[in-house]
Protein backbone atom coordinates (compact mmCIF):
# COMPACT_ATOMS: atom_id res chain seq x y z
CA UNK A 1 0.00 0.00 0.00
CA UNK A 2 1.51 3.32 -0.97
CA UNK A 3 1.43 5.95 1.69
CA UNK A 4 1.64 9.69 1.26
CA UNK A 5 3.16 11.32 4.32
CA UNK A 6 2.74 14.97 5.20
CA UNK A 7 5.20 16.65 7.54
CA UNK A 8 3.18 18.88 9.87
CA UNK A 9 5.58 21.72 10.64
CA UNK A 10 4.88 23.49 13.91
CA UNK A 11 6.65 25.88 16.23
CA UNK A 12 5.60 24.06 19.35
CA UNK A 13 2.37 26.01 19.53
CA UNK A 14 0.77 26.14 16.16
CA UNK A 15 0.75 23.83 13.17
CA UNK A 16 1.78 25.75 10.06
CA UNK A 17 -1.29 26.07 7.78
CA UNK A 18 0.69 24.79 4.79
CA UNK A 19 0.30 21.38 6.48
CA UNK A 20 -3.47 21.51 5.92
CA UNK A 21 -2.92 22.44 2.30
CA UNK A 22 -0.58 19.46 1.94
CA UNK A 23 -3.23 17.20 3.47
CA UNK A 24 -5.74 18.50 0.91
CA UNK A 25 -3.40 17.79 -1.98
CA UNK A 26 -2.16 14.59 -0.34
CA UNK A 27 -5.72 13.25 -0.28
CA UNK A 28 -6.04 13.79 -4.03
CA UNK A 29 -2.78 11.93 -4.59
CA UNK A 30 -3.72 9.01 -2.33
CA UNK A 31 -7.05 8.67 -4.11
CA UNK A 32 -5.16 8.19 -7.37
CA UNK A 33 -2.58 5.91 -5.78
CA UNK A 34 -5.20 4.03 -3.78
CA UNK A 35 -3.10 4.51 -0.71
CA UNK A 36 -3.16 6.00 2.78
CA UNK A 37 -2.60 9.55 3.90
CA UNK A 38 -0.53 10.11 7.01
CA UNK A 39 0.79 13.09 8.91
CA UNK A 40 3.88 13.37 11.06
CA UNK A 41 3.67 15.60 14.09
CA UNK A 42 6.99 16.14 15.83
CA UNK A 43 7.42 18.58 18.69
CA UNK A 44 9.14 19.26 21.99
CA UNK A 45 6.00 18.89 24.04
CA UNK A 46 3.07 16.78 22.97
CA UNK A 47 0.60 18.55 20.66
CA UNK A 48 -2.99 17.55 19.94
CA UNK A 49 -3.20 15.40 16.82
CA UNK A 50 -6.97 15.52 16.14
CA UNK A 51 -6.82 18.55 13.89
CA UNK A 52 -4.67 16.59 11.42
CA UNK A 53 -7.24 13.79 11.46
CA UNK A 54 -10.10 16.24 10.91
CA UNK A 55 -8.17 17.48 7.90
CA UNK A 56 -7.97 14.02 6.40
CA UNK A 57 -5.00 12.12 7.85
CA UNK A 58 -5.78 8.41 8.16
CA UNK A 59 -2.90 8.15 10.58
CA UNK A 60 -0.84 10.58 12.62
CA UNK A 61 2.65 9.64 13.73
CA UNK A 62 3.30 11.67 16.83
CA UNK A 63 6.78 12.00 18.25
CA UNK A 64 7.74 14.09 21.24
CA UNK A 65 11.22 14.87 22.47
CA UNK A 66 12.74 17.97 24.09
CA UNK A 67 15.32 18.10 21.26
CA UNK A 68 12.43 18.85 18.90
CA UNK A 69 11.41 22.03 20.68
CA UNK A 70 13.87 24.08 18.64
CA UNK A 71 14.39 24.38 14.89
CA UNK A 72 17.53 22.28 14.68
CA UNK A 73 17.53 20.36 11.42
CA UNK A 74 19.80 17.48 12.43
CA UNK A 75 17.46 16.44 15.26
CA UNK A 76 14.41 16.54 13.02
CA UNK A 77 16.30 14.71 10.30
CA UNK A 78 17.22 11.86 12.62
CA UNK A 79 13.68 11.54 13.94
CA UNK A 80 12.21 11.55 10.44
CA UNK A 81 14.76 9.27 8.83
CA UNK A 82 14.12 6.55 11.40
CA UNK A 83 10.35 6.92 11.05
CA UNK A 84 10.51 6.91 7.25
CA UNK A 85 12.70 3.81 7.24
CA UNK A 86 10.09 2.06 9.37
CA UNK A 87 6.91 2.95 7.52
CA UNK A 88 8.27 3.33 3.97
CA UNK A 89 6.00 6.03 2.56
CA UNK A 90 6.05 6.42 -1.21
CA UNK A 91 5.70 10.20 -1.19
CA UNK A 92 6.68 12.72 1.49
CA UNK A 93 5.38 16.28 1.33
CA UNK A 94 7.03 19.07 3.28
CA UNK A 95 6.03 22.74 3.32
CA UNK A 96 8.51 24.94 1.46
CA UNK A 97 9.01 27.18 4.48
CA UNK A 98 12.52 28.17 5.51
CA UNK A 99 12.60 25.23 7.90
CA UNK A 100 11.15 22.78 5.39
CA UNK A 101 13.57 23.83 2.68
CA UNK A 102 16.46 23.48 5.07
CA UNK A 103 15.38 20.12 6.51
CA UNK A 104 14.20 18.26 3.39
CA UNK A 105 17.60 18.20 1.63
CA UNK A 106 19.19 16.61 4.70
CA UNK A 107 16.62 13.83 4.63
CA UNK A 108 17.00 13.33 0.88
CA UNK A 109 20.77 13.02 1.16
CA UNK A 110 20.56 10.77 4.21
CA UNK A 111 18.22 8.41 2.33
CA UNK A 112 19.94 8.93 -1.04
CA UNK A 113 16.67 9.75 -2.66
CA UNK A 114 14.95 12.34 -4.82
CA UNK A 115 13.82 15.76 -3.70
CA UNK A 116 12.03 18.42 -5.69
CA UNK A 117 12.03 21.95 -4.33
CA UNK A 118 9.30 24.49 -4.02
CA UNK A 119 6.62 22.67 -6.04
CA UNK A 120 3.55 24.51 -7.27
CA UNK A 121 1.82 21.48 -8.81
CA UNK A 122 1.66 17.78 -7.91
CA UNK A 123 -0.07 14.98 -9.73
CA UNK A 124 -0.11 11.25 -10.39
CA UNK A 125 0.06 10.40 -14.09
CA UNK A 126 -1.56 7.43 -15.86
CA UNK A 127 1.38 5.16 -15.13
CA UNK A 128 1.01 6.08 -11.46
CA UNK A 129 4.17 8.17 -11.51
CA UNK A 130 4.38 11.06 -9.12
CA UNK A 131 4.79 14.24 -11.18
CA UNK A 132 6.14 17.35 -9.51
CA UNK A 133 5.83 20.73 -11.17
CA UNK A 134 8.09 23.53 -10.09
CA UNK A 135 9.22 26.94 -11.24
CA UNK A 136 12.90 27.38 -12.06
CA UNK A 137 15.05 30.01 -13.73
CA UNK A 138 13.82 32.62 -11.28
CA UNK A 139 10.21 31.69 -11.95
CA UNK A 140 10.43 31.90 -15.73
CA UNK A 141 9.95 28.22 -16.52
CA UNK A 142 7.95 25.32 -15.12
CA UNK A 143 9.75 22.00 -14.97
CA UNK A 144 7.88 18.69 -14.70
CA UNK A 145 9.98 16.40 -12.56
CA UNK A 146 9.77 12.64 -12.09
CA UNK A 147 11.82 10.56 -9.69
CA UNK A 148 13.34 7.15 -10.00
CA UNK A 149 14.00 6.50 -6.33
CA UNK A 150 11.75 6.00 -3.35
CA UNK A 151 10.60 7.64 -1.16
CA UNK A 152 9.99 10.69 -3.33
CA UNK A 153 10.32 13.92 -1.43
CA UNK A 154 8.91 17.30 -2.38
CA UNK A 155 8.74 20.67 -0.70
CA UNK A 156 5.60 22.57 -1.62
CA UNK A 157 4.91 26.29 -1.58
CA UNK A 158 2.56 27.79 0.96
CA UNK A 159 -0.78 29.07 -0.43
CA UNK A 160 -0.46 27.06 -3.61
CA UNK A 161 -3.22 24.57 -2.78
CA UNK A 162 -6.50 24.87 -0.93
CA UNK A 163 -6.61 23.72 2.68
CA UNK A 164 -8.24 20.33 3.24
CA UNK A 165 -11.85 20.50 4.43
CA UNK A 166 -12.23 20.19 8.14
CA UNK A 167 -14.55 17.50 9.36
CA UNK A 168 -14.77 16.62 13.04
CA UNK A 169 -16.52 13.35 12.25
CA UNK A 170 -13.44 11.99 10.57
CA UNK A 171 -11.60 9.24 12.37
CA UNK A 172 -7.98 8.30 12.25
CA UNK A 173 -5.34 6.54 14.22
CA UNK A 174 -2.72 8.31 16.34
CA UNK A 175 0.50 6.32 16.51
CA UNK A 176 2.96 7.38 19.20
CA UNK A 177 6.44 6.92 17.79
CA UNK A 178 9.67 6.54 19.67
CA UNK A 179 11.92 9.42 18.71
CA UNK A 180 15.49 8.37 18.10
CA UNK A 181 17.91 11.26 18.30
CA UNK A 182 21.60 11.10 19.09
CA UNK A 183 22.29 14.00 21.44
CA UNK A 184 25.68 14.80 20.01
CA UNK A 185 24.27 16.09 16.71
CA UNK A 186 21.80 18.31 18.52
CA UNK A 187 24.51 19.86 20.61
CA UNK A 188 26.34 21.31 17.66
CA UNK A 189 23.74 23.98 16.99
CA UNK A 190 22.55 26.07 19.91
CA UNK A 191 19.82 28.67 20.09
CA UNK A 192 21.10 31.84 21.71
CA UNK A 193 18.10 34.04 21.20
CA UNK A 194 14.61 33.82 19.74
CA UNK A 195 12.58 36.83 18.66
CA UNK A 196 8.95 36.04 18.12
CA UNK A 197 5.87 38.15 17.78
CA UNK A 198 7.08 41.43 16.40
CA UNK A 199 7.48 39.97 12.96
CA UNK A 200 5.14 40.95 10.16
CA UNK A 201 3.22 38.19 8.56
CA UNK A 202 3.06 39.54 5.02
CA UNK A 203 2.10 36.17 3.56
CA UNK A 204 -1.25 36.15 5.31
CA UNK A 205 -2.18 39.81 4.74
CA UNK A 206 -5.33 40.51 2.73
CA UNK A 207 -3.96 43.86 1.54
CA UNK A 208 -0.30 44.70 0.97
CA UNK A 209 0.78 48.26 0.22
CA UNK A 210 4.37 48.32 -0.99
CA UNK A 211 6.75 51.19 -1.47
CA UNK A 212 9.62 51.41 -3.93
CA UNK A 213 12.36 53.74 -5.01
CA UNK A 214 9.73 56.23 -6.15
CA UNK A 215 9.79 57.33 -2.50
CA UNK A 216 12.26 60.13 -2.10
CA UNK A 217 13.20 59.86 1.54
CA UNK A 218 12.93 57.50 4.46
CA UNK A 219 10.27 59.50 6.29
CA UNK A 220 8.01 59.14 3.25
CA UNK A 221 7.50 55.52 4.26
CA UNK A 222 4.85 57.03 6.50
CA UNK A 223 2.70 57.62 3.43
CA UNK A 224 2.80 53.94 2.55
CA UNK A 225 2.10 53.00 6.15
CA UNK A 226 -0.90 55.32 6.30
CA UNK A 227 -2.35 53.81 3.15
CA UNK A 228 -1.79 50.31 4.50
CA UNK A 229 -3.51 51.29 7.76
CA UNK A 230 -6.46 52.73 5.89
CA UNK A 231 -6.92 49.39 4.18
CA UNK A 232 -6.18 47.46 7.33
CA UNK A 233 -3.28 45.94 5.41
CA UNK A 234 0.45 45.41 5.79
CA UNK A 235 3.46 47.28 4.43
CA UNK A 236 5.74 45.76 1.82
CA UNK A 237 8.78 47.15 0.06
CA UNK A 238 11.00 46.62 -2.94
CA UNK A 239 14.55 45.55 -2.38
CA UNK A 240 16.34 48.92 -2.65
CA UNK A 241 14.41 50.32 0.32
CA UNK A 242 15.43 47.35 2.41
CA UNK A 243 19.04 47.69 1.26
CA UNK A 244 18.97 51.33 2.29
CA UNK A 245 17.70 50.36 5.72
CA UNK A 246 14.41 52.24 5.40
CA UNK A 247 12.48 49.17 6.49
CA UNK A 248 13.33 45.73 7.89
CA UNK A 249 13.87 42.91 5.50
CA UNK A 250 10.78 41.05 6.70
CA UNK A 251 8.88 43.54 4.55
CA UNK A 252 10.71 42.82 1.32
CA UNK A 253 8.57 41.38 -1.44
CA UNK A 254 10.15 39.48 -4.29
CA UNK A 255 12.44 36.74 -5.42
CA UNK A 256 14.80 37.15 -2.50
CA UNK A 257 12.07 38.29 -0.13
CA UNK A 258 8.51 37.26 0.65
CA UNK A 259 6.12 35.79 -1.87
CA UNK A 260 2.66 37.23 -1.26
CA UNK A 261 -0.78 36.61 -2.74
CA UNK A 262 -3.08 39.15 -1.11
CA UNK A 263 -6.53 40.18 -2.31
CA UNK A 264 -5.14 43.62 -3.15
CA UNK A 265 -1.51 44.58 -3.82
CA UNK A 266 -0.69 48.25 -4.24
CA UNK A 267 2.73 49.08 -5.66
CA UNK A 268 3.71 52.70 -5.00
CA UNK A 269 6.69 53.88 -6.99
CA UNK A 270 7.86 50.41 -7.98
CA UNK A 271 9.05 49.86 -11.53
CA UNK A 272 8.17 46.17 -11.73
CA UNK A 273 11.47 44.37 -12.32
CA UNK A 274 11.12 40.61 -12.70
CA UNK A 275 12.62 40.01 -9.24
CA UNK A 276 9.93 42.12 -7.63
CA UNK A 277 7.16 40.62 -9.78
CA UNK A 278 8.22 37.14 -8.68
CA UNK A 279 6.95 37.97 -5.21
CA UNK A 280 3.56 39.51 -6.00
CA UNK A 281 2.36 38.72 -9.50
CA UNK A 282 -0.16 36.18 -8.24
CA UNK A 283 -2.04 38.69 -6.11
CA UNK A 284 -5.78 38.80 -6.88
CA UNK A 285 -5.91 42.48 -7.75
CA UNK A 286 -2.81 44.54 -8.48
CA UNK A 287 -2.84 48.34 -8.41
CA UNK A 288 0.21 50.27 -9.57
CA UNK A 289 0.97 53.90 -8.88
CA UNK A 290 3.83 55.21 -10.99
CA UNK A 291 4.58 58.45 -12.80
CA UNK A 292 6.25 56.71 -15.73
CA UNK A 293 3.56 55.36 -18.09
CA UNK A 294 6.08 52.95 -19.60
CA UNK A 295 7.00 51.31 -16.26
CA UNK A 296 6.77 47.52 -16.66
CA UNK A 297 4.61 47.24 -13.54
CA UNK A 298 1.65 48.53 -15.56
CA UNK A 299 1.71 45.43 -17.73
CA UNK A 300 1.17 43.25 -14.69
CA UNK A 301 -1.36 45.42 -12.90
CA UNK A 302 -5.14 45.40 -13.11
CA UNK A 303 -5.31 49.11 -12.43
CA UNK A 304 -2.62 51.61 -13.17
CA UNK A 305 -2.67 55.09 -11.72
CA UNK A 306 -0.30 57.12 -13.85
CA UNK A 307 0.95 60.05 -11.83
CA UNK A 308 2.79 61.31 -8.82
CA UNK A 309 2.45 59.03 -5.82
CA UNK A 310 2.81 62.04 -3.52
CA UNK A 311 -0.51 63.29 -4.85
CA UNK A 312 -2.27 60.00 -5.49
CA UNK A 313 -1.60 58.23 -2.21
CA UNK A 314 -2.96 61.04 0.03
CA UNK A 315 -5.98 61.32 -2.25
CA UNK A 316 -6.56 57.59 -2.01
CA UNK A 317 -6.40 57.77 1.77
CA UNK A 318 -8.76 60.73 1.82
CA UNK A 319 -11.39 59.11 -0.37
CA UNK A 320 -11.20 55.78 1.41
CA UNK A 321 -11.76 57.50 4.74
CA UNK A 322 -14.65 59.49 3.32
CA UNK A 323 -16.23 56.33 2.03
CA UNK A 324 -16.29 54.91 5.53
Amino acid sequence: MSEVMVFAENNGERIHPVSYELLGKGRELTDKLEGDLSATLLSGEQLPAEELVYRGADRVYRGTDPALSEPVETSYKEALVSLISEVNPEVILIGATNFGRSLAPRIAMALDTSLTADCTGLDIDEEKNFVQIRPAFSGNILAHIKSRTSPQLATVRYKEFAEADRNEEREGEVVEVKVKISREGAEKVKIIEEKRGRRVNLEDAEVVVAGGRGLKKESDMQLVEDLADTFGGKVGASRPLVDDGWIEREHQVGYSGKRVKPGIYIACGISGQSQHLAGMKESDTIIAINNDPSAPIFEYADYGLVGNLYEIVPELIRQLKEGN
Binding site: A108, R239, F298, E299, L305, I312
Partner: protein, 265 residues
Protein backbone atom coordinates in the same frame (compact mmCIF):
# COMPACT_ATOMS: atom_id res chain seq x y z
CA UNK B 1 47.14 25.41 15.32
CA UNK B 2 46.62 25.00 11.58
CA UNK B 3 45.21 27.85 9.52
CA UNK B 4 41.47 28.08 9.10
CA UNK B 5 40.11 26.81 5.79
CA UNK B 6 36.97 28.32 4.32
CA UNK B 7 35.22 26.82 1.34
CA UNK B 8 32.80 28.70 -0.89
CA UNK B 9 30.47 26.87 -3.29
CA UNK B 10 29.92 29.03 -6.30
CA UNK B 11 28.05 28.35 -9.52
CA UNK B 12 28.17 30.10 -12.83
CA UNK B 13 24.71 31.09 -14.06
CA UNK B 14 23.23 33.10 -16.93
CA UNK B 15 22.41 36.74 -16.19
CA UNK B 16 18.67 36.42 -15.55
CA UNK B 17 17.91 39.93 -16.76
CA UNK B 18 19.18 39.04 -20.21
CA UNK B 19 18.37 35.39 -20.70
CA UNK B 20 15.78 34.77 -23.41
CA UNK B 21 12.91 32.36 -23.08
CA UNK B 22 11.36 30.82 -26.15
CA UNK B 23 7.68 30.70 -25.23
CA UNK B 24 6.68 28.83 -28.38
CA UNK B 25 9.32 26.13 -28.26
CA UNK B 26 9.33 25.98 -24.48
CA UNK B 27 13.08 26.41 -24.24
CA UNK B 28 15.57 28.50 -22.37
CA UNK B 29 18.16 29.96 -24.69
CA UNK B 30 21.16 29.77 -22.40
CA UNK B 31 23.47 31.19 -25.03
CA UNK B 32 21.44 34.39 -25.13
CA UNK B 33 22.82 35.77 -21.91
CA UNK B 34 26.27 36.46 -20.54
CA UNK B 35 27.38 34.21 -17.69
CA UNK B 36 28.08 35.50 -14.21
CA UNK B 37 28.58 34.16 -10.69
CA UNK B 38 25.25 33.28 -9.03
CA UNK B 39 24.35 36.52 -7.19
CA UNK B 40 23.72 34.78 -3.86
CA UNK B 41 27.09 33.05 -4.06
CA UNK B 42 28.82 36.43 -4.10
CA UNK B 43 27.25 37.09 -0.70
CA UNK B 44 28.61 33.72 0.41
CA UNK B 45 32.07 34.59 -0.90
CA UNK B 46 32.01 38.01 0.76
CA UNK B 47 31.22 36.41 4.12
CA UNK B 48 34.06 33.91 3.71
CA UNK B 49 36.51 36.68 2.87
CA UNK B 50 35.36 38.66 5.92
CA UNK B 51 35.95 35.62 8.11
CA UNK B 52 39.43 35.29 6.70
CA UNK B 53 40.16 38.97 7.18
CA UNK B 54 39.18 38.69 10.82
CA UNK B 55 40.84 35.43 11.78
CA UNK B 56 43.26 34.57 9.01
CA UNK B 57 43.24 31.46 6.88
CA UNK B 58 42.47 30.52 3.33
CA UNK B 59 39.39 30.77 1.11
CA UNK B 60 38.92 28.07 -1.52
CA UNK B 61 36.19 28.53 -4.12
CA UNK B 62 34.79 25.35 -5.64
CA UNK B 63 32.53 25.15 -8.64
CA UNK B 64 31.12 22.33 -10.70
CA UNK B 65 30.39 23.21 -14.29
CA UNK B 66 31.77 23.47 -17.81
CA UNK B 67 35.27 24.71 -18.59
CA UNK B 68 34.03 28.28 -19.02
CA UNK B 69 33.11 28.37 -15.32
CA UNK B 70 36.83 29.03 -14.76
CA UNK B 71 35.98 32.68 -15.30
CA UNK B 72 33.60 32.63 -12.33
CA UNK B 73 36.37 31.17 -10.16
CA UNK B 74 38.79 33.84 -11.39
CA UNK B 75 36.17 36.40 -10.48
CA UNK B 76 36.07 34.83 -7.01
CA UNK B 77 39.83 35.16 -6.72
CA UNK B 78 39.60 38.83 -7.73
CA UNK B 79 37.10 39.24 -4.90
CA UNK B 80 39.34 37.70 -2.28
CA UNK B 81 39.42 33.90 -2.70
CA UNK B 82 42.89 32.36 -2.58
CA UNK B 83 42.27 29.37 -4.78
CA UNK B 84 39.74 28.05 -7.28
CA UNK B 85 38.84 24.45 -8.04
CA UNK B 86 36.65 23.50 -10.97
CA UNK B 87 34.95 20.10 -11.11
CA UNK B 88 34.73 19.52 -14.75
CA UNK B 89 34.08 16.75 -17.24
CA UNK B 90 31.29 15.21 -19.31
CA UNK B 91 30.37 12.88 -16.45
CA UNK B 92 29.16 15.76 -14.27
CA UNK B 93 26.80 17.26 -16.85
CA UNK B 94 23.08 16.92 -16.19
CA UNK B 95 23.44 16.18 -12.47
CA UNK B 96 20.49 17.04 -10.24
CA UNK B 97 20.93 18.51 -6.76
CA UNK B 98 21.61 15.13 -5.13
CA UNK B 99 24.34 14.22 -7.64
CA UNK B 100 25.77 17.76 -7.59
CA UNK B 101 25.96 17.68 -3.81
CA UNK B 102 27.60 14.27 -3.89
CA UNK B 103 30.25 15.57 -6.29
CA UNK B 104 30.85 18.77 -4.32
CA UNK B 105 30.98 16.73 -1.12
CA UNK B 106 33.64 14.41 -2.58
CA UNK B 107 35.64 17.42 -3.76
CA UNK B 108 35.55 18.96 -0.29
CA UNK B 109 36.76 15.68 1.19
CA UNK B 110 39.58 15.70 -1.33
CA UNK B 111 40.56 19.21 -0.18
CA UNK B 112 40.99 17.82 3.33
CA UNK B 113 40.40 19.60 6.62
CA UNK B 114 38.06 22.57 6.49
CA UNK B 115 36.31 24.77 9.03
CA UNK B 116 33.34 26.50 7.45
CA UNK B 117 31.58 26.07 4.12
CA UNK B 118 29.60 28.95 2.61
CA UNK B 119 26.93 28.48 -0.04
CA UNK B 120 24.31 30.75 -1.54
CA UNK B 121 20.69 30.55 -0.45
CA UNK B 122 19.84 29.30 -3.93
CA UNK B 123 20.89 29.58 -7.56
CA UNK B 124 18.89 31.77 -9.92
CA UNK B 125 18.68 28.98 -12.52
CA UNK B 126 18.30 25.74 -10.54
CA UNK B 127 16.46 27.72 -7.89
CA UNK B 128 16.26 24.92 -5.31
CA UNK B 129 18.42 25.92 -2.36
CA UNK B 130 18.99 22.22 -1.78
CA UNK B 131 22.66 21.86 -2.59
CA UNK B 132 23.99 23.54 0.57
CA UNK B 133 22.12 21.39 3.14
CA UNK B 134 22.65 18.25 1.01
CA UNK B 135 26.41 18.82 1.03
CA UNK B 136 26.26 19.29 4.82
CA UNK B 137 24.42 16.00 5.23
CA UNK B 138 26.90 14.21 2.97
CA UNK B 139 29.80 15.51 5.07
CA UNK B 140 27.90 14.78 8.28
CA UNK B 141 28.32 18.30 9.63
CA UNK B 142 25.73 20.73 11.02
CA UNK B 143 24.34 23.53 8.88
CA UNK B 144 22.25 26.67 9.25
CA UNK B 145 20.29 27.84 6.19
CA UNK B 146 18.97 31.27 5.16
CA UNK B 147 21.52 33.15 7.20
CA UNK B 148 20.84 36.89 7.03
CA UNK B 149 23.52 38.06 9.43
CA UNK B 150 26.79 36.85 10.93
CA UNK B 151 27.19 38.08 14.50
CA UNK B 152 30.41 36.52 15.72
CA UNK B 153 33.25 34.78 13.94
CA UNK B 154 35.35 32.44 16.04
CA UNK B 155 37.86 29.69 15.34
CA UNK B 156 35.63 26.89 16.50
CA UNK B 157 32.18 28.43 16.33
CA UNK B 158 30.07 30.84 14.29
CA UNK B 159 27.09 32.87 15.49
CA UNK B 160 24.43 33.76 12.93
CA UNK B 161 20.93 35.17 12.49
CA UNK B 162 18.34 33.24 10.50
CA UNK B 163 14.60 32.93 10.18
CA UNK B 164 12.68 29.78 10.94
CA UNK B 165 9.29 28.82 12.34
CA UNK B 166 8.03 32.37 11.86
CA UNK B 167 10.64 33.80 14.23
CA UNK B 168 14.11 35.23 14.07
CA UNK B 169 16.80 33.16 15.74
CA UNK B 170 20.34 33.81 16.76
CA UNK B 171 22.11 30.45 16.66
CA UNK B 172 25.64 29.34 17.28
CA UNK B 173 27.13 26.43 15.41
CA UNK B 174 30.18 24.38 16.19
CA UNK B 175 32.68 24.11 13.35
CA UNK B 176 33.17 22.41 10.98
CA UNK B 177 29.81 23.37 9.59
CA UNK B 178 28.02 24.93 6.63
CA UNK B 179 25.90 28.05 6.26
CA UNK B 180 23.75 29.20 3.35
CA UNK B 181 23.55 32.95 2.89
CA UNK B 182 20.75 35.26 1.78
CA UNK B 183 21.29 38.55 -0.04
CA UNK B 184 20.64 40.46 3.18
CA UNK B 185 23.82 39.30 4.82
CA UNK B 186 26.22 41.79 3.21
CA UNK B 187 27.01 43.94 0.21
CA UNK B 188 29.61 42.06 -1.88
CA UNK B 189 32.65 44.19 -2.62
CA UNK B 190 33.63 45.07 -6.15
CA UNK B 191 37.05 43.84 -7.22
CA UNK B 192 39.62 46.51 -8.02
CA UNK B 193 41.15 46.70 -11.46
CA UNK B 194 44.44 45.48 -10.04
CA UNK B 195 42.83 42.47 -8.39
CA UNK B 196 41.07 41.61 -11.63
CA UNK B 197 44.32 41.76 -13.57
CA UNK B 198 46.01 39.51 -11.05
CA UNK B 199 43.15 37.03 -11.01
CA UNK B 200 43.20 36.77 -14.79
CA UNK B 201 46.56 35.05 -14.50
CA UNK B 202 45.54 32.75 -11.64
CA UNK B 203 45.62 29.02 -12.28
CA UNK B 204 42.35 27.21 -11.67
CA UNK B 205 42.75 23.57 -10.70
CA UNK B 206 40.59 21.35 -12.89
CA UNK B 207 39.47 18.19 -11.16
CA UNK B 208 37.76 15.25 -12.79
CA UNK B 209 35.96 12.15 -11.57
CA UNK B 210 39.24 10.37 -10.64
CA UNK B 211 40.57 13.29 -8.66
CA UNK B 212 37.69 13.21 -6.23
CA UNK B 213 37.18 9.45 -6.20
CA UNK B 214 33.50 9.47 -6.99
CA UNK B 215 31.63 6.63 -8.64
CA UNK B 216 30.66 7.87 -12.08
CA UNK B 217 27.40 5.89 -11.86
CA UNK B 218 26.15 8.44 -9.37
CA UNK B 219 26.64 11.39 -11.67
CA UNK B 220 24.93 13.01 -14.59
CA UNK B 221 21.46 12.30 -15.88
CA UNK B 222 21.70 8.55 -15.22
CA UNK B 223 22.98 8.99 -11.68
CA UNK B 224 20.41 11.57 -10.64
CA UNK B 225 17.33 10.48 -8.67
CA UNK B 226 15.19 13.12 -10.37
CA UNK B 227 14.81 13.91 -14.01
CA UNK B 228 13.07 16.67 -15.89
CA UNK B 229 10.30 14.93 -17.83
CA UNK B 230 9.41 18.10 -19.67
CA UNK B 231 9.54 21.81 -19.42
CA UNK B 232 7.02 24.56 -19.99
CA UNK B 233 7.87 28.16 -20.62
CA UNK B 234 4.67 29.97 -19.77
CA UNK B 235 4.50 33.47 -21.27
CA UNK B 236 4.72 36.21 -18.64
CA UNK B 237 1.39 36.62 -16.91
CA UNK B 238 0.53 40.06 -18.18
CA UNK B 239 -2.78 41.58 -17.20
CA UNK B 240 -5.28 43.65 -19.07
CA UNK B 241 -4.40 46.85 -17.35
CA UNK B 242 -6.82 49.72 -16.94
CA UNK B 243 -4.78 52.90 -16.96
CA UNK B 244 -6.17 55.91 -15.13
CA UNK B 245 -4.40 59.07 -16.17
CA UNK B 246 -6.83 61.72 -14.95
CA UNK B 247 -6.15 64.12 -12.11
CA UNK B 248 -5.60 62.25 -8.84
CA UNK B 249 -9.09 63.04 -7.53
CA UNK B 250 -11.03 61.46 -10.36
CA UNK B 251 -8.52 58.67 -11.00
CA UNK B 252 -8.80 57.55 -7.39
CA UNK B 253 -12.56 57.91 -7.53
CA UNK B 254 -12.75 55.67 -10.61
CA UNK B 255 -10.45 53.14 -9.01
CA UNK B 256 -12.52 52.87 -5.86
CA UNK B 257 -15.68 52.50 -7.87
CA UNK B 258 -14.13 49.69 -9.87
CA UNK B 259 -12.94 48.02 -6.71
CA UNK B 260 -16.34 48.60 -5.22
CA UNK B 261 -14.67 50.16 -2.21
CA UNK B 262 -16.13 53.66 -2.47
CA UNK B 263 -18.84 52.96 0.06
CA UNK B 264 -17.32 49.98 1.79
CA UNK B 265 -17.65 49.00 5.44
Amino acid sequence: MRDLTFIVLIKQVPDMDQVEFDYEEGRVDRSSAPLEPNPFDLNALEEAVKYKEELGGEVIAISMGPKQAESTLKDAIARGADEGILLQGREFAGSDTWATSLALGHAIEAVGDFDLIFSGEKTVDGDTGQVGPEVAEFLNIPHIAFVSGVKARKEDEVEVVSESWGATYVKSMELPGLITLTKDVNEPRLPSFKDKQKARKAKIANWGVEDIGIDQENLGITGSPTRVANMEVPPPEKRESMLLREDPGSAVNQLLEKLDLGRSK
